[in-house]
Subunit: 138 residues, 2 copies
DNA sequence: AATTAGTCTATATTTTTTATAGACTTTATG
DNA sequence: CATAAAGTCTATAAAAAATATAGACTAATT
């Protein structure tokens, strides 16, 4: 399961994408529209900013805005940033790899093989689908 | 990521499958062979037993054994039992469904659509692959 | 200068995961 | 039938992670 943090990030990003024309959006507006604790959301938006996904402006008329078009923000990027590994096991993670302690040889480990396939199937979707793909269709 | 509990369960099941000919296997043997805390492993094996996957025998010559052939134990079964939902969001879980609070209509929610696809791709593998498929190949 | 709004650092709370303890029951066998 | 072997059960503890909050600080606008 994705953490609340990641789920909130998706909802916030969707809101920002659906309101690009309004310029910078207040944290408090996103928080109340999406029913997220404002202080918790602050942290999340900051992380997204530090990762280069969002930009911000302080003072009156300030707020957060997308730094890229929704099409350019893959879902996998958001998940890895806020949730960590997408793979089901450390030994099949591309970005957070850790050697398996219990198994002697990954090359002949059947669990490794199956979980690699699961990872590939998942990434095929999450790396190719972007913020644009999760905007509400009408 | 799968929890340690689920990872330990896989390793224990693999060990049991690879030693079917030896009759019931001691918890302590699995624990030391796979470097798992014996008391923690106890709980895990009990859960697997209560779910009908393992059987056990008390007293001398006792231990745990598989109640079904490895082929009949889908990986998804183990994961759901010990880890809960396989889906990335509650609103796309088949076995642990919860309605999404932030979205008005799941039918037109893009996040719902993508995450359903991820779930389907994952389940296609985890429900069709069994304990047999993760045994070490030689 | 005053107000608005994001930034930063720290901490608190809650939940989940991981692990342990110990008394109890069942079974085999000498 | 006594003893030892081995799983069962209930409870609790410890550690880690997830979730949430507080408040002082900085930057921008008017």
């Amino acid at each position: 399961m994705l953490s609340k943090k990641t789920q909130y990030a998706f909802h916030a990003l969707i809101y920002l994408a659906e309101n690009v024309d309004k310029g910078p959006i207040l944290i408090s507006e996103i928080a109340s529209e999406k029913s997220i604790s404002i202080k918790f959301l602050e942290n999340i938006l900051l992380e997204l900013k530090n990762a280069g996904i969002l930009g911000s402006k302080k003072g009156k008329g300030g707020g957060y805005y997308l730094m890229r078009t929704p099409k350019e923000i893959p879902l996998a990027r958001i998940i890895r940033l806020l949730d960590g590994p997408i793979a089901l096991l450390p030994c099949v993670s591309l970005n957070y790899y850790e050697r398996c302690e219990n198994c002697k040889d990954e090359a002949i480990c059947g669990l490794h093989e199956v979980m690699s396939k699961v990872r590939d199937a998942t990434l095929k979707l999450l790396e190719n689908k972007s913020l644009k793909d999760i905007l509400t269709r009408e």
